[in-house]
Structure formats: structure tokens, C-alpha cells
């Protein structure tokens, strides 16, 4: 069962929740519509599925629509995604035309529009053409690492972005010169969701048994989609370097999303690479396997996130919240979450990752200290209540130009 907004009082305190009610009250009479491209799988859908009902409970008139599209559209948006990450894969003019066509069709299919339209990521970005007709407020929320995009795709998207009232980025590093306001809103995790709530020990054991994982041997885990940018092959290579000295296990677990057709190919490659060792567990999970992921994270000795590129890196936030020592690449939003050697470890290479796995396995007290600091940092900065607060302020700021806003 989903948690209620008042359930968060015991985690973040009464005052934060009271402030949320007050901010929500100030939005009375204003409707807000979220639009993204997938109802499940991936961080965006996950956070929307939590934030929207909680905001409704606060009294905000907010809802969430998913754009309609077929396989071809998603293979094009996957290419756009990769080019935004700076990966130079071909993308034809015809494909971009199809991308715009699907957006056009969705402007017709959409039954209802709100006073504020909140667009998530590039897939529905071209819906902005409706602004001229509707004369309402539009927000574009970028969840992707924008630090080194291919120039052509950036210029293509920029034309649309600059028609919005405001843009939102997850980390300062993703910001670029734009003619519109840019607001910083890091994403968040929900401490009471199935993916992050406390679990009974026997449930965790049951999950380990189900996958044949030995709870007596150290468990190194990476939870992520099967995607080249998450570098699962690099993780296996790092593990093999560690395995020469320490008897441990590797768990690579994750699912796919409707808008990621590349996943199956990556999964096959990972299975091939892992086939040489009995201690590597490649686990493909169906969408909504939140309890399984939670259990695997909680059972882990160390959690990795060896991404080559990353948006914010919510799997890192989840691991830190569960008070686990985390070794992650210094990319995207990860350095905002991990201060090296204080709240986790930041690495740049396969060898460096292997070195730190060995160090942390040999020095459990040091690993525990990192984990404690990491959890505190997430509690202060990356829980869902802070995210809701940021969104409420974002909506209110659309109607207030001043940089000092009194909400008496």
C-alpha cells in the first residue's frame, strides 16, 4: 500500500510536512499536468508514480499523462538520448521528422491540458507547440546528463527548450547557456516505497535463496538497467580482478524500460561475459520488482555504480540510504551524492574500482563509516519530501518574478 504524506513526519519531522501543506495551499485553483513517455521502468516513471499521489494528497490539482508512441519512436528517442550523452551514433533527418510527427499526434490525442504543463525529458519536448494556443505555463525537466552532448542534437532540442517558461536540471554540471530560467532540482528517493523501506531479515534471505546467492560470502552488487552506459562489462572485469584475491560474489540485477529497446542485446553480452564464473549472478527483473531490488541492495556488502555516463544516479541514492558503502564513477550527479572518502568512494577506472572493492572488504569499519555519512547526506538532501517542496516552489515561481517571495 502506498504511504500517505503524513507517514513521512516520522522520518523528516512535522515542520517539513506542515510547510508542504502551506505551499500546496498557495497553489489553489491552479492545475498541473505531468507528461513523460513511459508509465513504468526507469527513474522518471518511478518518481512520478510517488510524487503525483502525494501532491494530490496535499491538495494540489495535479495529474500525470503518458504520451502514446510505438517501438520506432522509442528507438529514435534512444538515439537522441545517446547523442545527448555525447555518443556519436547516426540519427537521420527522417528519424527526427518521425519524432516530431509522433509529438504532433500526441497534441491531438491529449484530452485535457492544465494551467502548468510539466514535460519530462526530450521525448515529449515538441508538445510545446501547444503553448501558443493554450497560453499557459510550460516547464521542461531534464533528467539526463547534458554535460557533453553532440552539438547537432543540442541545437535541435534547444529550439524547443527556449520556448518553455523555465527549465529544470538535476545538477549544475548539466546546465548550459539558455535564454530561459534554469532551476536546480536534484531528484530524490522515497524512503517508504517498496524499493527503500526497511525489510524483514527472513524476506531478504528468501530472495537470496531464490537466486541461489550465498549470504555467507561477500556480495558486490550493481543495480541498473542493462545498458552500455552503465558499463556492466566493466563491472564484471573489476570483479574478476578482485576475485583473484577474495572469495566473493557479484550480482548484476536490473530490468528494462519500454523506451529502451537496446536492453536485450546488452543483457546477452553480459551473460556471455559472466558465463565463466559461478559466482556472478546476472538477474533480469521484470518491471516493479522493487522488493527484490531492495532485498538485493540490503543483502549487499558493497554496492557499485560504475556508469560511464549518468544522469543523477538514483541507484546510488538508494544504496546510500540503506547505509551501504558505495563505490561509484565520478560522473553526472554522482559527485553531488558522494564526497570521496567521506560518504563513499569515487573512481574513474576498472582497476580503481577493483582496488577499492578490495580495500573496503578488508576494512569493514572504514566501510561502515562511509556508509553512515552517506545515509545522513541522503536524509538531508535527497528524500522525496524535499523534491515535493522544490516542485511546489517551482510552480509558485512561475507566477512571481521577484527573487524574494512572501507567502504570508
Amino acid at each position: 500500500m502506498n504511504s500517505r504524506i503524513d507517514d513521512y513526519r516520522k522520518i523528516v519531522g512535522n515542520e517539513i510536512i506542515d510547510e508542504l501543506y502551506l505551499l500546496a495551499q498557495k497553489l489553489k485553483g491552479i492545475s498541473i499536468q505531468n507528461i513523460n513517455s513511459t508509465p513504468s521502468g526507469g527513474g522518471v516513471a518511478e518518481i512520478l508514480s510517488r510524487i503525483v499521489p502525494l501532491m494530490q494528497e496535499l491538495g494540489v490539482n495535479i495529474w500525470w499523462d503518458v504520451m502514446e508512441a510505438e517501438e520506432e519512436f522509442f528507438s529514435i528517442t534512444k538515439k537522441i538520448h545517446n547523442r545527448l550523452h555525447g555518443v556519436d551514433i547516426p540519427l537521420s533527418k527522417k528519424e527526427l521528422e518521425h519524432f516530431l510527427e509522433v509529438n504532433d499526434q500526441n497534441t491531438i490525442k491529449m484530452k485535457k491540458w492544465a494551467d502548468i504543463v510539466f514535460i519530462h525529458d526530450p521525448q515529449p519536448i515538441a508538445l510545446i507547440k501547444m503553448k501558443r494556443k493554450l497560453k499557459n505555463k510550460w516547464i521542461w525537466r531534464c533528467h539526463i546528463d547534458f554535460s557533453s552532448p553532440c552539438r547537432d542534437i543540442w541545437l535541435f532540442l534547444k529550439k524547443f527548450i527556449e520556448k518553455y517558461d523555465v527549465s529544470v536540471f538535476s545538477a549544475p554540471i548539466f546546465s548550459r547557456p539558455l535564454s530561459i530560467r534554469q532551476v536546480l532540482i536534484p531528484p530524490s528517493i522515497d524512503p517508504l516505497s517498496d524499493k527503500n523501506k526497511e525489510l524483514e531479515a527472513h524476506f531478504i534471505d528468501e530472495i537470496l535463496n531464490r537466486f541461489g546467492i550465498d549470504k555467507e560470502k561477500p556480495i558486490i552488487t550493481q543495480i541498473s538497467r542493462f545498458d552500455y552506459l552503465k558499463d556492466p562489462i566493466g563491472v564484471i572485469k573489476a570483479f574478476k580482478l578482485v576475485k583473484k584475491y577474495i572469495d566473493c560474489q557479484l550480482v548484476l540485477a536490473g530490468g528494462g524500460a519500454r523506451d529502451d529497446p537496446e536492453g536485450e542485446r546488452v543483457l546477452e553480452e553480459v551473460k556471455n561475459e559472466a558465463s565463466s564464473s559461478r559466482d556472478i549472478f546476472v538477474i533480469y527483473l521484470p518491471p516493479n520488482s522493487h522488493l527484490e531490488i531492495n532485498a538485493l541492495q540490503r543483502a549487499s556488502t558493497i554496492i557499485l555504480q560504475k556508469s560511464l555516463r549518468e544522469g543523477f544516479g538514483l541507484t546510488v541514492t538508494e544504496a546510500l540510504w540503506k547505509e551501504k558503502p558505495v563505490i561509484a564513477s565520478c560522473v553526472g550527479g554522482i559527485p553531488l551524492q558522494i564526497a570521496h572518502k567521506y560518504s563513499g568512494i569515487l573512481t574513474y577506472t576498472i582497476e580503481g574500482t577493483a582496488h577499492w572493492i578490495r580495500r573496503l572488504l578488508h576494512e569493514p569499519e572504514y566501510a561502515r563509516r562511509l556508509a553512515r555519512n552517506g545515509k545522513q547526506h541522503v536524509k538531508n538532501s535527497f528524500l522525496i519530501t524535499r523534491h515535493i517542496q522544490d516542485y511546489l516552489l517551482l510552480f509558485l515561481s512561475l507566477f512571481n518574478k521577484s527573487d524574494l517571495i512572501y507567502l504570508d
Binding site: E15, E19, L22, L23, S147, F169, P172, I173, S175, R176, P177, L178, R181, Q182, V183, L184, Q389, D390, L393, L394, L396, S397, S402, D403, L404, I405, Y406, L407, D408
Partner: protein
């Protein structure tokens, strides 16, 4: 006599899309960004480090020291006594003066590594009421013990510099209440050298000595 209404504030951080790779670009940025950006980069740390005094009291000095490796310049920027300034424009001038002197004496510019550029941010402040109000010194003390550090921050820092009141809200009210000496003593506290919890304790002790 008007009661003292405790307020609190929430910050919305904005990205200006402007970066600096070296001291010259930092100088140009500081010269041109809005006052809210100078305020943000010199005050952000106060609430982030709730209990521990940070090593670097502003973002400019942190970046100059860690990303450019210019320790002496970093220390000079860190040592600017913000409490002396009751106007952000004067504070901006002070930073520019230090950077200008450095640029005159150091013709070779050092660039930071890619991805380590200084990114200019600014902030927008939302001010909210809290349930706490005081009509006398005893009630004022009770409230001081209960309000969050964000409320304390608002009445001490934001009121003085950003709202251009030239003094903190507590001292203004206490003066009107007839506690001129107590008001002056709170005015003279340099809040930048305390952690927020430390500052709360110091003010509470001062108030207690007048009860």
C-alpha cells in the same frame, strides 16, 4: 507593541548557465552576475553545514583553492569579512578588487580541469510564516529554543544583507521593546564565525542574562 512573528524561508536554486575556467573569467562573472548570485555563493554554506564550521566560507575561495590550486588567493577571498558589509554591491566590489590585484601581478592564467569549471548559481527566497510569535522576552526565549535554524538564518542573515535592513530582525524588535543593550549586543555578534546551532546558543544565553 507589535509581537515578533517568526518566519522561515526556503531557497530555490537557479543555474545561470555561466561558467568560469580561470581567475579572469571568475572576475568577469562576479562583475556581471545578479546580486542574488553573490549572496548565494557567500551564504550557501551557512545552512548546509549545520553543525560543523566549514573550511571554506564561500564558493569562490573553495573553487580557487581546490580547482585552480591557488591557495594564497583562495585564502584572501576566504578571509573577506562579510559581516562588515551591509550592501551586497560593496561585497562584490571587495571580491573584484582582490581578483583584480591578483590578475595585475599574475599574467599567466591557469585553467581548471574540464568539468571542474566554476558554475554560477543564484537563489530565490520564499518566506513563510511559522506558528511561533513572541510578545515579551520570556516568550521570545521560548520561541528561540524551538524554531528551526532556517528561521534563525532568515532573521539574522537574510534580513540584514538581502532585505537591506542593515541590522538583524531580533535586535530591531528588542530595541523597540526597550532592551537596547541586549539588542546592541546581538547586533555586534559576528554571525559568520558561528555555526547556526552555536549562534542559537549564544543568543539564548544573552537573552537569559536579561531575564
Amino acid at each position: 507593541m507589535q509581537p515578533f512573528y517568526f518566519h522561515t524561508r526556503i531557497t530555490q536554486v537557479e543555474l545561470l548557465g555561466r561558467i568560469a575556467k580561470n581567475v579572469k573569467e571568475l572576475y568577469e562573472g562576479i562583475k556581471e552576475v545578479p546580486p542574488s548570485s553573490i549572496y548565494h555563493h557567500t551564504h550557501r554554506y551557512l545552512e548546509q553545514h549545520r553543525y560543523f564550521s566549514p573550511e571554506h566560507p564561500n564558493d569562490f575561495s573553495y573553487w580557487i583553492t581546490t580547482s585552480l590550486g591557488l591557495k594564497k588567493l583562495g585564502e584572501k577571498i576566504a578571509s573577506v569579512d562579510i559581516f562588515q558589509f551591509s550592501d551586497i554591491e560593496d561585497l562584490r566590489k571587495k571580491f573584484l578588487e582582490i581578483l583584480e590585484n591578483f590578475l595585475k601581478s599574475s599574467p599567466a592564467l591557469r585553467n581548471c580541469l574540464p568539468q571542474e569549471e566554476f558554475r554560477f548559481l543564484s537563489s530565490r527566497i520564499f518566506i513563510l510564516p511559522t506558528p511561533y510569535k513572541a510578545t515579551n522576552l520570556v516568550e521570545f526565549l521560548n520561541c528561540l529554543e524551538k524554531v528551526t535554524i532556517h528561521s534563525l538564518y532568515f532573521h539574522i542573515f537574510e534580513a540584514r544583507l538581502r532585505l537591506k535592513k542593515h541590522d538583524n530582525d531580533f535586535s530591531c524588535w528588542l530595541r523597540d521593546l526597550g532592551y537596547k543593550e541586549l539588542a546592541d549586543r546581538i547586533s555586534k555578534l559576528d554571525p559568520y564565525t558561528y555555526t547556526l546551532e552555536g549562534l542559537r546558543k549564544r543568543i539564548i544565553n544573552l537573552v537569559k542574562s536579561y531575564l
